[in-house]
Assembly symmetry: C2
Homo-oligomer: 104 residues x 2
């Protein structure tokens, strides 16, 4: 399958997915927030994949229109980056979205 298809498959199979870079503070912030909320996101570190990391980042841009990290999906739906996820949290909507998932 294409990388775009593998992204679509990954976000369908895992309730919460974060495409990240290990040394990026915005990525760290999003992962830390989700963990504080008791969620264990499925994390893909793009900088740990060699040349495939950049190809995957390009595929994410094709699928979501967003090239940057972190790139967050909840319940198969594209949420956006760090500021998007924090905004949802401050509005109380992130816990609603997470509550709707079967995270047991």
């Amino acid at each position: 399958p294409s990388l775009e298809e593998s992204v679509k498959k990954t976000v369908k199979e895992h309730p919460v997915v974060v495409y990240s870079k290990t040394w990026c503070s915005y990525s760290m912030e999003v992962k830390a927030l989700l963990e504080r909320l008791g969620v264990e996101p499925h994390v893909i570190e793009l900088d740990q994949l060699g040349s495939e990391g950049r190809e995957l980042q390009d595929a994410l841009e094709t699928v979501t229109g967003q090239f940057t990290v972190p790139n967050v999906f909840i319940g198969g739906k594209h949420i956006g980056g760090c500021t998007d996820t924090l905004d949802l949290y401050h509005k109380g909507e992130l816990t609603n979205l997470l509550g709707e998932l079967n995270l047991s």
Copy 2:
């Protein structure tokens, strides 16, 4: 001169210095804050210098103990990173530090 010496020279010659990476949001935040305060920091983008960028980042770690970006200096004094600079701002101390400089 060694890279450590060039760092020390740079931070002596410019009132406000930021070692940054162009695509890093924490670096963007610090640069944006300083510009909002009317300061034109002397910015060195480490990811635009080829292999010297990493060598300079290592030299910064030797000089300051801090490897990460952004790396901020005011009046020749090492301030720290993004969170350090924002903390000083929220305590009102950043504007004091900047006020003491001859920025005209």
